[in-house]
Symmetry: C2
């Protein structure tokens, strides 16, 4: 039997492949992702996957886009769960949601912000929209602070010529964001990412302090440094 009859086939195999991939990533981590293992679990042969994804990297790219979308959903949801006027509340909400999502889906976090797949390099142009959207929540809140005159920072380094194109791309995707907001949002992102990535990789607990306390302290530090009350 070279090809099973439609009745015995898995409907929507493309989705089934991605679903199985996520399952295996959750169970054994992203580096263990294997097309052959996916095929085994789905009772198909490995090359069959090539009908749906040109190669392994294409599958990984899809997974990354899905992860960014899930992450972005949680960020936007957190932001919009707080009244528009309560900017500080919105900031804290997305801050908490950031870490919560990372802890809920550590492998997805690694997939997005780490480099856990051996030879894989994400194609920026494909991943960009979903990644830009996911960080949009933070950018928009910072921009709201600035528009309301509540941002303490007013100086910022100029955009480097060689990055200007990227910068413009960002602005086109995210909407009008003042450079100072852009700069502050990046700084905040780096701080939040610093703690969370150390936590996720298991480098924080050895230091004796729970990530909870450290993280809340840091969110507070950020608010006190950048927000006028």
């Amino acid at each position: 039997m070279v090809r099973p009859t439609r009745k015995k086939q898995i409907p929507n195999l493309q989705e089934a492949i991605k679903k199985t991939a996520w399952k295996q990533i959750a169970e054994h981590g992203a580096p263990a992702l294997s097309l052959r293992a996916i095929a085994r679990e789905l009772n198909i042969t490995a090359p069959a996957i090539y009908n749906y994804f040109p190669d392994r990297d294409a599958l990984v790219t899809e997974l990354i886009i899905d992860a960014f979308t899930s992450f972005g959903d949680s960020q936007l949801e957190a932001r919009d769960s707080v009244a528009t006027e309560d900017l500080t509340g919105r900031f804290k909400a997305i801050g908490i949601a950031y870490r919560k999502w990372a802890h809920g889906y550590p492998q997805r976090y690694q997939l997005i912000f780490g480099t856990p797949i051996p030879g894989y390099e994400p194609p920026v142009e494909k991943v960009f929209p979903s990644s830009a959207r996911s960080i949009m929540a933070l950018f928009s809140v910072v921009e709201s602070f600035r528009a309301a005159g509540k941002l303490t920072a007013n100086t910022y380094p100029s955009v480097k010529k060689e990055y200007q194109a990227h910068f413009d791309l960002w602005r086109s995707q995210i909407g009008e964001v003042h450079p100072v907001s852009h700069f502050v949002a990046m700084l905040i992102w780096a701080r939040v990412h610093g703690i969370v990535s150390l936590e996720i990789q298991g480098n924080l607990p050895p230091f004796g302090t729970s990530g909870d306390d450290l993280y809340l302290y840091e969110l507070d530090s950020i608010a006190r440094q950048f927000i006028k009350d």
Copy 2:
């Protein structure tokens, strides 16, 4: 010929293997590390490596320890290049050195702080001494600030019971460090790591700002938040 005469053998093969491994990591990145490729380059067979390292992970562990040692050297050197009394100068020096080392050896940085080797989990007990030493420079400077009454932070979250053993281990390795210094040093480390890791992974340039400016701004933010002048 099953075994070449001593004259044709490579002297100190253990070191030669590590050296070749570093060369390949520098050229093709850590994920591409392959025992067979190392063996090819050394004109030996792959199983010969097993006379010097029980398996691939043992080799990787050695490389990680070497990387931590190199990193620690650069940190301690930076600290000691500034007079003991000039605490702020020492802080900036190790801050600058941190990023400089990371940019000089991005693959080593990834090897230490990322997870670029597929199935590899570092054995904490083996890596701990060199890793603790490498971060000791920062801890010691923060502790000096505290001892001199120049640390602004005075509250800190208590150490969680489940992490107490790790915390004690750290103190035994690093020397007497007040919990508040411990806490502040961790926060600083997380901030510095946040920017640098985003940079190294190429997630920063798309935002339009050079890492230089962002990093210096952050070092300044840290100093202003935690150091009384």
